[in-house]
């Protein structure tokens, strides 16, 4: 099943390049969901469409892809030149410029590039949109393109992987942009993964020993969790049979010969299964990724990974809403009483104890004996609303994930997903009240009512998550 990755704007294109590098290096062969062979010369090409109103970044990553050395004795991969759509001038971090000007102007060329790539897929699985939410192209044009894709491919899944800007303020109007983008994506996308730059930067500094993380470092960290989800995996039950006699985790991955395929398990279909298990409720579409281990590369050889330890940290991260393995509040525990009698949600204003409640979660385990690990702790009813049944889905793959012997990734439709939106909403309201920088939007044809509806939509989202 083929998935087309649409890289929008500077942030989306850079992250897209990092994603394809991660997918190519983390598995034994190029996953055919994201790569295809070119008929004429046999080269491997990414199933990607690159869109930016400035050509500089796109040309840069295309050049990097071409010149990248071969990895794991495999040929390099490249981008298809037919999937590139560029403009002459950028959006200037103006959401309205991207949505009302560049969007309609470049729609045909964008759809043509998308259609070309979609036609290369034998079984088309949907779109992954990589974009930032603070700027003009990724945010504005991205929102417009998502609407257009939904019109053009109404039965295709759309998963948006969005970079949330630093809350300190990369762009002065980022609060407007994120609200506008998120409101549009809520209406037209099937799932939205929010990735906060703030958290990525913190993890790089505190856990990965990267004091001044570059964009590459951040992108590499950003796509770790996404790559863990997108690589092939197989459904498994929450409770499994007795684990066989434990064996030392082998680094070579030879244990992966105990193939999930041979055991008759069904494979996770990217996007359709993913979104069906997480975003089935039309009112809850915002997702969060948590990935472990968060260990510097130089420490991997000296670290002993165990499933129990990793899952313990991951669970606490899930409960507290944290994204870092360390410096979590271990005092936050699940309430003893039944959920509906003692609801203490993260967004409850009067309650200091913050338990991150979730609509649904998907846990992916990669590594040796991943199919036998006990993950029942993530299915605790106290983490989910009273009306939810079977909220946890688990998939596994006995193959190693890149350089990690054991890797876990939890993608959850939880309250922590909308925390940044809640904060942005507050700040945005303040700016809106003073009518700050609205003229930049009005001059591109945007009206005040658009802001009103966008803010109302985000308020609705935040309110809905707070009632979990």
């Amino acid at each position: 099943m083929g998935v087309v990755v649409v890289q929008l704007g500077q942030g989306g294109n850079q992250m897209g390049y990092a994603l394809f590098r991660c997918l190519a290096s983390a598995s034994d062969s190029f996953p055919d969901q994201f790569f295809r062979s070119s008929d004429k010369k046999g080269k491997t090409k990414a199933r990607a469409v690159l869109i930016d109103m400035e050509p500089k970044v796109i040309h840069g990553i295309i050049g990097r892809a071409k010149s990248a050395p071969a990895q794991n004795n495999r040929a390099v991969w490249t981008y298809d030149a037919r999937g590139v759509v560029t403009g002459d001038s950028g959006s200037g971090n103006n959401w309205a410029c991207g949505y009302y000007d560049h969007g309609p102007y470049n729609l045909n060329s964008m759809l043509k590039a998308v259609r070309t790539e979609v036609e290369q897929c034998d079984v088309f699985g949907g779109f992954i949109i990589l974009q930032s939410m603070a700027g003009g192209t990724g945010a504005g044009l991205g929102a417009y393109l998502v609407e257009a894709l939904k019109d053009e491919f109404p039965s295709s899944f759309i998963l948006c992987y969005c970079i949330w800007p630093y809350e300190s303020g990369e762009v002065i109007v980022q609060n407007y942009n994120v609200v506008l983008t998120l409101s549009h994506l809520q209406s037209f996308a099937d799932g939205i993964i929010i990735l906060q730059n703030e958290q990525l930067s913190t993890i790089c500094r505190t856990l990965l020993s990267i004091q001044r993380p570059s964009f590459d470092d951040l992108n590499e960290l950003a796509v770790q969790g996404l790559g863990c989800i997108l690589l092939p995996s197989y459904w498994r039950a929450i409770e499994t049979s007795t684990r066989p006699v434990s064996r030392a985790a082998s680094k070579g991955g030879s244990e992966s010969k105990l193939s999930n395929e041979n055991s008759g398990q069904s494979r996770v279909r990217i996007l359709s299964d993913l979104l069906s298990s997480l975003c089935f409720h039309p009112g809850y579409k915002v997702l969060t990724l948590r990935f472990t281990p968060q260990v510097p590369a130089q420490s991997l050889a000296f670290t002993n990974f165990t499933w129990d330890a990793q899952l313990k940290y991951l669970r606490q991260m899930f409960i507290t809403g944290a994204h870092k393995e360390l410096e979590m509040d271990w005092n936050i525990q699940l309430p003893r009483s039944a959920v509906h009698d003692n609801k203490q949600g993260m967004l409850s204003p009067a309650v200091p104890c913050l338990v991150n409640r979730s609509v649904a979660s998907l846990l992916i385990l990669r590594g040796n004996e991943s199919e036998y690990v006990d993950v029942s702790g993530f299915a605790d009813d106290r983490l989910y609303p009273i009306w939810q049944v079977d909220p946890l889905s688990v998939a596994s793959s006995s193959s190693m994930y890149g350089r990690y012997e054991l890797a876990t990734c939890l993608i959850s439709n939880c309250q922590s997903s909308v925390l940044p939106a809640s904060r942005a909403l507050t700040k945005g309201y303040n700016m809106l009240a003073s009518r700050a920088y609205l003229h930049q939007y009005f001059e591109h044809g945007m009206e005040h009512a658009s802001f009103d509806s966008a803010f109302a939509s985000i308020e609705d989202i935040v309110c809905r998550y707070s009632t979990l």
Binding site: D122, V123, F124, G125, G126, S155, S156, F157, D190, S266, R269, S272, L275, S276, C279, F280, H281, P282, G283, H340, P385, I386, W387, Q388, V389, D390
Partner: protein
Amino acid sequence: MARRNKDSSDCLPTISESLTYLCTILSPFGVTQLSPRNLLSAAANEPSASPSIWSALHQLICLQLASPSSSKPVANVLLCRLQEVDRDHLRPHDVTVIVKFYLSLWGFPFNSRVFSLCYDTGESQNLLLPLAWLISRCDIFKRALDARIENLSPRSFKVFPFAAADVSKTMVAAERARQARTKSEIYIQKLVATSSSLPDIGLRAKARSQQTLMLYGRVRMALMALHSSVSARAKFIHKLNHMQRELKIKDQDGHAFSQLDVHILEHKEILDKDFEALQAGTHVGKEVEMCELHEKTFWQWMVSVVVSRESQGCSDQEIPTHPERLKVLSEFCTTSIIPVVEQLKHYAVAQENLVRVPRDPKSMEIQVDSQMLNLEQLSVPVMVKQEVPTFLPKVLFPLHEVKFTLESAPTGGLPPTADSDAESIVERLKLIATALVQVHAKIRSRNRICLEEAMSKYTTQDYVLHNFWPEDSFIHR
């Protein structure tokens, strides 16, 4: 001399080829002394052919007695059945007696010359007719054909998979669909149970509204996934058609292979086995056709033999008188082989499972004997006028069907009182004939095979007229 049929459109084989075929198919059935040369010699009335024809007749009778319908070859079974004759020395006279007996028993025309021929007769041509008659009665051609095609019978065709190999995994898909359906049903039950367990009605309503939205979302996404699968399928079919056009895979008529053709070609082993079955079927067809052609030629040759015989002035012998017939019958019955009645008894016992045979076969024999005796007595002229009325009930008494016939007769159930002798004789003959027919029918229904054969000669018009026609009647045929 071989003669080719003039009808070239049927491409009939030559007579010698057909006779060779006949001898070939007779050989497995134990008829080993017959050869095309003998048959042609017999047609030419050569005495040297007579022993082989008699032997063939004898073998065919043995075959019919041993296994009336089997296609398997049999040995000289009659030797085993002979109880009073030395099995190792079957005399030519015995052969002729056996042949004549069973021919008469089975209904071969009694006025045929064969009944007066000896083993080394010079009229070998007259032996061909009973031979042909037995070949027809024993259904030799069909039996031989069944034996020949038994090993060639086409194997049953192996059924192709209902879908192409890559789609054959629909078995897995069907199983997963079943699992998904089961999972969905369980999920719904859980949802309902979860919301039903909530104590507060407001909470319950809220929970169910959320669950409804959840189900809507799941259905929507399932439909999207289904749409994707359908689109993929259409794409694959289009791609397959395109590939076929590009590869220019065409059949003998220049038509591109259809997807069904490709699917069939994909399962080469099944295709090969089906080809084998087709070839076997073709061989069977050829055998059937060949057998039909040879049979047709054989019968045409037999017609020519009959025509030749008649042109030579040979005719069947005069129909013997009743005493003469009885004398012949008694001669048969005095042989060392099973007499007629015992033979009938044997058949009746053998057919016990198939027909309703009276427990005491003797009662049937006595009934048959007495009825025949009464019929014979009716032929005595003095009985015509006075004793017919009294004799008729004796003949007709046990049979309800005959009673019905009698009652429905123009005379209203009374013996005929004709104005003239002629009329009375005619009426009497009508009643007798009717009685005979009814007796025949009744006996047939009870002892179908054997007694039918035994009584058949008594129910012919010739027999009735020749045996019950009063000599002093002024009505002559």
